[in-house]
Symmetry: D2
Subunit: 274 residues, 4 copies
């Protein structure tokens, strides 16, 4: 597996600096926008920068708003091919989006719409040999944050993936969402195959009743109560060899410097991957 970082947990830092720091602290991947990097330093510059630091891009984010109006969807779709081409040009084969566990719309209609829109998105990504990773979102408070419950479990997300029916769609497995939906390391090892996983997020949880954990108040890996060693071991057992990216979402910006946060992340990863 490849240790990766997103900026959630590191703070605002320019892509070039982020790549340099990530390499310095022993990470092999960063989750950044390929298109932005290329816009900044050019395609050749981006390839050189990544190569020089032996850095991969773990995943780009999906910049198409598939959850709201048809107009917003169609507007976003215009830029997707360009975004996927940028990812592919930098060797990144993954593009991820999250699924909120509740919706103000009719859940049935929202699902039908999601299947159609995500299928179109996946076809475009697939043209560039990029996979679409769907992240289920576990924290309980979000299940009632909108009018109607939608989906939040591994199984329901797999049902959505099966409904889409394309080869390049899989899961983004996030340790926090696994924990808050009761999907254990053991479940992961027994129920998932590595080819179902497009990307992995890692982060930790406070020692609180699961139902009280907040989506935007997570801990650095190794600082909380989730069995992340088991999580990572199960990923290895099923043959997952991709990127495991830290994503620590917190209510306030960190007061430490990026250097200090990277040091802290490194310690967490060392512990979890030991």
């Amino acid at each position: 597996m490849i240790k990766g970082l997103s900026k959630a947990g590191i703070g605002q830092v320019r892509d070039e600096e982020f790549i340099r720091l990530a390499a310095e602290y022993g990470f092999g991947a960063v989750d950044i926008e390929a298109e932005s990097l290329i816009a900044c330093v050019g395609l050749e510059g981006a390839i050189e920068l990544l190569g020089q630091h032996k850095m991969l891009i773990g995943s780009i984010g999906l910049n198409v708003e598939w959850r709201r109006t048809e107009d917003e969807f169609l507007e976003g779709l215009k830029g997707l091919a360009q975004s996927a081409a940028a990812a592919a040009a930098l060797g990144c084969r993954s593009c991820c989006t999250y699924i909120l566990p509740a919706t103000d719309q009719s859940p049935a209609l929202f699902m039908a719409q999601a299947v159609r829109r995500l299928r179109i998105i996946a076809e475009v990504l697939g043209a560039y040999d990029v996979k679409l990773g769907l992240e289920f979102v576990g924290p309980h408070h979000l299940r009632t944050a909108w009018k109607n419950p939608f989906i939040w479990t591994v199984n329901d997300t797999l049902a959505l993936i099966d409904a889409i029916g394309l080869p390049n769609v899989g899961l983004l497995v996030d340790s926090y969402h696994c924990y808050t939906t009761g999907f254990t390391a053991d479940d992961l090892r027994k129920q998932l195959r590595s080819e179902q996983i497009v990307h992995v997020h890692i982060n930790d949880a406070y020692d609180l009743p699961v139902g009280q954990l907040l989506d935007n108040d997570r801990l650095y890996p190794g600082e909380g109560v989730i069995d992340l060693q088991g999580f990572v071991k199960s990923l290895g057992d099923i043959g997952y060899r991709g990127v495991v990216s830290q994503e620590v979402i917190t209510p306030l910006d960190a007061t430490e410097s990026p250097d200090q946060l990277l040091q802290r992340s490194k310690i967490g990863f060392d512990k979890v991957f030991s």
Copy 2:
């Protein structure tokens, strides 16, 4: 358009007799199971019987239970190709199923499942050049007959059809369900194209508030308050040339003879199609 009959409204009558009677009263199509007819009289016998009475089969029913457990779905799927082949052998190009407007399952998961299962079903039917018609169900009391609302409008059903994403899936448009969902003849003419329609049901409604109309208590065409002339005219205006089948679901079996019921149906059709 071709005037058709289902047995709902005519009563229990054997297929051969049904075909003979339908022809006698000027109908051009019956909705029966092609496979059963062939089982009774053989393939050649069935072709001859239909040919001799210039009778088409309007639509067969879908005999795969796609709404319940995976086991039931997979069990039913075993017989689908055979059933589609029988329909095709008798020139019938339509297979229909209805969608209940509520469900005890999670509506989102139920929709994801419906998309996947109906896609598989449609692929098999399509192999035999048979279309899948989806019937939305309008009566209000059914929307609360199970725990969670599902879908019941033309638009939501079209969203399901778009999620399935195959060329041979369309609507079964039933006049009762249009009426109970407020989809008028004018809406039909403006919003639907004929190639979206796989099959049509016709029947009438009591003069009651729309919210009180029961799914299983319908009237013969022309005996109620639905503007069926407008309905049929709109179908014609958009270029629909297929079968319009009577389906009169009632709480009690009719006390009249099939002959009398056919006579009654004929009068209704004559009025509506005039």
Copy 3:
């Protein structure tokens, strides 16, 4: 049906002038690039211009090179959503491309590639409710213009469409290609359904043996030997209500003015549609 014009047969004329002239000579549609028109006069300007002349855009052309290298395909794909959005914004629901009847590549591999690429293209177009029309190309000399024969008949093109398997893919039916593949007006009426047709081209052929007719040496409708009245009548019989666009490809640029050529086209259409 709606009488339409492409610039093939009219000559180089700016879009605005083309629209004005087309309207003046009684045409209801022009085949131009929606995106170019919007680039010239703005979205509102384009809508107003078309509205003022009661003019539709019959079809845009597909600007994705799906026949050559993967790189060219992926490069072109970047602009497709934008192009489809422009078409949709101007009410145009059709985008067409032609299929050459021979290829230097392995025909089997070329077909597998065509299915995949055209499926991706059709998914993107479908998002904007735009159809993809595939034009088979009949002239015999082109069948040997590259190393290996590919496809050129209606039936083979329908097989490709079935392999793509999406609801928004159909035929561009061109009278010249029908004539040079022996697909008669009678065949059209008996074998095609209107929903299989995305767009229609009309033009005429010299009185030569069919095997000698050249792809780039066609006549104006009504000036040659094709039974175009029968062609148009069959289209009407099967319920086609879309655009029939003139496309007259000639080896030399016409020496007449656009005005004269429009007059000539008008005479041809009047004769054919009489």
Copy 4:
């Protein structure tokens, strides 16, 4: 990986005996028809028999004739769901078919047809969680055994798989076909991912120029010139953990007893897997 046997190389032996012998000689899988086994000994009997010998079914064969007329295809399709259900009931998740490298039909049309038919087949198999494995066929003499070349390389087969576009379609990788198409162990390790492989065949080749090797005259693993150790090692390197089944096709039936042939197979596997 799991060592497996097909009857090609063992001779005619009843399924029950075959399972017993395979277990005795240390094999973990047999390629037999699940449906036939169930027909012989019942579902419970089959489960017990396999369980008692710790034996898996590696793959069933596809009993739908997708290469010839539409009638044959549609006839075969009737039995597919039943066949897939039988495989699934016995824990077998793979169904394989081969692709001949030449065809008497137009290669382009044959490909379009193959994509459509195999997509329908894969959808039905997928319902039962069974994968479809496509076997490319390498021997050179078959490339001219019919009028037109079709496909025979890994890359072209992957292009077909991409054209089908479903998640449950992959390769059957056969060592003989790899060898005769110049696809080395190194190529396998560098170019394939394990999830692209549905099933593996192993067998060996005479020490002849590659162009002279016959499809139906193969050797037992370890008795010929193919680098099977490298082949198996590459499979392991990319994470393949499925069945590797011996398939030794020979012009004459073996004169040795099944016992002797199994002993011979065991020696070959021991050598190759050492």
